[in-house]
């Protein structure tokens, strides 16, 4: 019961984070969790400060849906880390969601502009 409530509250945020992770992996190729988190922070120019741990909830969700895959590898500085890569279904999903996101943000922009007048 409680679980469902939590999901609905943070749906938008979750969805956004998932999309960011997918996009990052699509653009950068396989990355470990820390790499993804750092990349997202860099891109957002530190506008978005996330608890890096939350990225793992998103990674789990994407894995469960088989949109990304994971395997253990070695990082740049020779440490063992788990690397994530986007899958084919993940790419399709990314395309669909990106389009969706653009539509919604366009609508939002229009709506906000209207409200300002």
């Amino acid at each position: 019961m409680g679980e469902r409530e939590r999901e609905t509250k943070s749906d938008v945020l979750q969805g956004t984070l998932d999309l960011m992770v997918l996009q990052t992996l699509d653009a950068m190729g396989p990355l470990h969790g820390y790499g993804i988190a750092r990349r997202i922070e860099q891109i957002s120019e530190d506008v978005l400060q996330l608890n890096q741990g939350t990225i793992y909830a998103s990674l789990l969700r994407l894995q469960q849906r088989r949109w990304i895959s994971a395997s253990w590898g070695t990082s740049d500085n020779n440490r063992k880390a788990k690397f994530y890569a986007i899958t084919r279904t993940g790419r399709k999903q990314l395309a669909a969601q990106a389009q969706n996101w653009e539509r919604i943000s366009a609508v939002m922009m229009r709506l906000l502009r209207l409200a300002q007048r």
Partner: protein, 883 residues
Amino acid sequence: MLTWLAILASRVRGLLLGRRLDEEFDREVASHLELLTQDNIGRGMPCDEARRQAMLRFGGPVQIKEQQREDRGLPFIETTLQDVRLGVRSLRRSPAFATVAVLTLAVGITATTSMFTVARAVLLRPLPYAQPERLVEISELNPLKGWTHTVVAPANLADWRARNTVFADIAAYIGVDDRGASEYQVFLSGAGETQPLKGIAVMGNLFDVLGVGPMLGRAFTFDETFEGRDQVVVLAYGTWQAVFGGDPRIVGRSIVLSGRSTTVIGVMPRDFFFPNRSAQFWTPLGVKPDVFVKMRRPHWMNTVARLRHGVSLAQARDQMTAIASELERTYPDTNTKMGVRLETLHGIMASDARPTVLLLSGAVALLFLIVCVNIAGLQFGRGVGRAREFAVRSALGAARGRLVRQLLTEGLVLSLAGTSLGAAMATATPAMLLRIAPSALPLFAAPRIDRIVLLFAATLGLLAPVVFGLMPALASSRVDRLSERTGSASRHTTKVRELLVACEVGLAVVLLVGAVLLSRSLLLLRQVDPGFSADHVVTFKVRLPRTRYPKDVDHIRAFGEIERRIREVPGVQAVGATSTLPLRGTTWTGDATVEGRGVNDYERELRHESVTPDYFRAMGVRLVAGRLLNDRDGAASNVTLVNQTLARKYFRGADPVGRRIKFGRPLEDDPWMTIVGVVADEKQDRMNQPASPEAYVPMPQNSQNPMTFVVRSTNGLDAAIDSARRELRAVDKDLALTDVAPLTDVIEDSIGDERFRTMLLGAFAAVAMFLAAVGIYGVLAYVVSQRSRELGIRLALGAKRQELFTMVVRQGMRPVIAGAGAGLAVAVALTTLMESLLFGVHAVDPTTYAVALSTLTAIALAACAMPALRATRIDPLIALREE
């Protein structure tokens, strides 16, 4: 949709691999933190600070891990597993409760499942024939003869076959007793010892009507029905396996059956049986064709017919009734008032067992209710005991739903244990039931445990505790404050528990009354005088093969010789033979006339048996008037004995000795027989039915084959049988004696149905009473422990211990009296339904109710006495110090 599946698969994996994934995630988090720390150091932070900052940026690794764990698996199942563990642990802490509950449920499941197995085998499972619902039995009825359901005459059958348009075909068979068990016996000789086989003789089209073909070889052709072409046999699968070792080349093999060379033409499939499992073979009727043209009397064939597609039973009934009236007009002599009766084959096969099975199924349903109520009561009691635990957990933040869920899970754990145990025990019961009820259950369907039965048990076992456990669970989880652990809440639950006990007692009383009624019936039935004295008497049947004993004189000589030889065995007091042993279900009948009566005043279907002179001494049948038969009463002597019922019916106190009767109707030309004596009535069909008129003629006058021998001897039963077998071999080494039974067993077999249902209902009632006693004891013991302080104070203030005892017992008996009252009322209503199963007692029988009530009172008082005794032993000082 696929995404959804992928998520589920991954979550199940998460559930299964929980620990490994935990470790993996730990490593991943560690490596993440390490990388973050390194970067921080790279930015010039000191080592400690770098690590601290990394933790902050990452955000509570413990929460993240917790979250991960929850998202990864199936929390619902994990919680349930946790509840199960918790449940098992808490049940282990109260082993007494757990044991009682599991055993109670196991007993309930065993009884219910066993009865379901039987009911399914007898009433529900379809017969192993093609479209069995279209199979119909046709029998004849005749109000003039008092026939409601009798075998048919061959010529009538032939006319039905020729004239009807409602049946695809009608087949006939002979050689079954009134329960459908095979009686037609042959002796297989050749390989080793002569072996008796039982089967039935059939019309060639039987297997076509049933719609089942042999698995090997072929079925009969219609022509093979008749004499001359009838030396063929089809074997049952079991016979083929057991007797012929599954010989793959059995078809075409020639075997010797009762001295006749016979060809095996087929083997039926394993699941096939007809008319029940006792048939080991099928062989043609072997009659002359003109039997089907001329013979409208006697009636001796069983039938089975297949309805055409689209024809209903009612339509078939209408047409067959019309045909019967046509025959009545054409053959007034034989067919006056001769009607037909059509029943579904399944209905006919199950009809004997139906009332018993329904009664016992109803009883077992009541028993199961008691089991459920008992478990509910137990859970209530435990709930009260655990109120403190729940109050603490609820204070620590457990939601009420969570507590209820835990209680239900505990219930499920209990029921899982109880159901498994019960189902395991139920697998043993069909064999046991069959052993104690060889005749009460129709042999045509072997009860066995299969998937459906197990499903039934599982459904009952899992559903019942959930339903009956819900109420106590809700009640005991309703604890808001710690202080409520005693006081009003427990008084409330005590009331509920007393109500439950009253229910249990009520239900148990219903069963008890039923059981007492049946027991009294059985006792009365056992006291009925069968008209003969059964102790120290053995009986067995001898059939002479017709190939070597073709004529009547051969029979008379052989049977006479056997009797003479056995008589000379030391210790044998008397030996006789009869064509019809009492209480074995079959008999010869024929219309008969008493001299001096009007044209239409004759005895319809008078029973008659052919006996040797010493039959009456061997059986211990009393002579009432005149003389018994003797060896001078030969083939042409034309004498007869009659039973008392016939004497009463036709001579009203006048002396029948010297009067004459004949077989045949008044105007028919049959020889008159002089009545030379009157003997006491023997019970004929069943112990619970009054005797019908009957005549006994000397064997030479009306020779019959087979004959049943009756030997009264001081040698002990086994020795008597051994010596009889020896003498039989001495007469003809190929003869075998069959149907060996002490006469006492013949009586016991005839009341097998009554004994079976009495035993079962008695067992159910005993279990019910025991459970009720447990319930009574449980509540009262709890009440006493709750009131120990009050009782202590009473004692301290000078109450006598005896007064306390009475007080506690009175409280314990309160729900018992309420329940007994309600139960008796229900019993009156329900037991009238079983009136037809009773003998010598009415459903509303004061003695029965008195016996049931006093039994209940005794048991209830015993259950109350133990807690009450404990109340009197309370030490006031200790009781007061407890608080």
